[in-house]
C-alpha cells in the first residue's frame, strides 16, 4: 500500500509557483516517496505532466475536485 509522504500545498499560486514549490519539496524527499500536490492553477493540468516528463519523476495520479487539482508524484 502506497502512502503519501508529504502534501505540497500550492493552492492560490500561479505559474511557475506550483512547480517551484513542488521542486523544493522533492529535494527533501527520498527516492520512491509519494508526494501529493494541491493546486488551483488551471495551467497545472498541462504543466504537471510536462514537468514529470522533463524531470523524470512519475505522475501516478491526476484529478480535480471542486476547483482544486490534485496530483500524486513518485520521486525518481
Amino acid at each position: 500500500m502506497d502512502v503519501i509522504t508529504a502534501t505540497v500545498d500550492a493552492r492560490g499560486q500561479s505559474c511557475p509557483g506550483p512547480l517551484v514549490t513542488l521542486h523544493r519539496a522533492l529535494r527533501d524527499a527520498a527516492q520512491g516517496d509519494l508526494l501529493e500536490l494541491l493546486a488551483t492553477d488551471p495551467g497545472s493540468r498541462s504543466d504537471v505532466p510536462s514537468w514529470a516528463e522533463l524531470s523524470g519523476n512519475e505522475l501516478i495520479e491526476a484529478g480535480e475536485d471542486t476547483g482544486v487539482y490534485r496530483y500524486v508524484i513518485r520521486k525518481a
Binding site: G12, Q13, S14, C15, P16, G17, L19, V20, L22, H23, D47, W51, L54, S55, G56
Partner: protein, 191 residues
C-alpha cells in the same frame, strides 16, 4: 604464423570493439546531458521580456534541467542592484543607464508603458493572481542554481562594475563562452 596473426586480429578487434562501445556510451551520456540543458540569452531589459525569461528559467530548474542565462546589452541591467540608480563612468554611459533604468524593479514595458502606469498595472494584476514578480523570480532562480552569467563586454561598454551587480552571479563571460553554453544545450533562446 597464420594462427598468431589471427589471434592478434581477434585481440585488436576486441580492443576496437571496446573503444567503440566506450565512444558510444560517451556520446549517449553527452546527448543526455545536452537534452537536459537550456541556455537563454537575455538581451532585452524590458519587464515583459525578462519576466518570461525568468519563468522559463525557474520552471526548467524545477524540472531538473541545467539552466544558464546570459545577460547582455539591455538585459544586463536586470542584474543591477536595486539601490543602484546610476551606473557608468563617463557622462554618456551614465546617461544611458538613466534612460534605461537599472534593476528589475524599475524595468519598463516594451509597449503600453504609459509613464510607468503599464508596469504598475501588470504587477498589480500578477500579484492578484499570485504570479511572482521578476525581482522575486530572479532570487528564486539564483537559489535554484540557475547560472546567471553577466556579459563582460556589456559591462565594459556601459561602465557597469562587478559591485554594481547583485550577489550570487557567475563570473562575467564573453561571446565564445556564451556560444559554448548554447552549443551544449538542447534549447537555446534569445529573448
Amino acid at each position: 604464423m597464420s594462427q598468431g596473426s589471427a589471434t592478434t586480429t581477434t585481440a585488436d578487434e576486441a580492443a576496437l570493439r571496446r573503444l567503440i562501445d566506450e565512444a558510444l556510451a560517451e556520446r549517449e551520456q553527452g546527448a543526455h546531458d545536452k537534452e537536459n540543458k537550456i541556455t537563454i540569452v537575455a538581451w532585452d531589459g524590458h519587464l515583459d521580456r525578462v519576466w518570461p525569461t525568468l519563468i522559463l528559467s525557474t520552471t526548467a530548474a524545477a524540472s531538473g534541467m541545467q539552466v544558464s542565462v546570459f545577460f547582455t546589452f539591455w538585459g544586463l541591467f536586470a542584474l543591477v542592484k536595486p539601490e543602484k540608480r546610476r551606473t557608468g563612468k563617463k557622462w554618456m554611459t551614465k546617461a544611458l543607464s538613466v534612460m534605461n533604468p537599472a534593476a528589475l524593479k524599475r524595468a519598463k514595458l516594451s509597449r503600453y508603458n504609459f509613464a510607468g502606469l503599464g508596469p504598475w498595472m501588470l504587477s498589480k494584476v500578477a500579484g492578484d493572481y499570485k504570479t511572482p514578480h521578476p525581482t522575486e523570480l530572479l532570487e528564486t532562480a539564483r537559489d535554484m542554481g540557475v547560472r546567471l552569467l553577466p556579459c563582460q563586454m556589456t559591462m565594459d561598454l556601459m561602465g557597469v562594475k562587478r559591485e554594481d551587480l547583485i550577489d550570487g552571479l557567475e563570473e562575467p563571460i564573453g561571446a565564445a563562452t556564451a556560444l559554448l553554453e548554447m552549443k551544449g544545450s538542447a534549447i537555446q533562446l534569445f529573448i
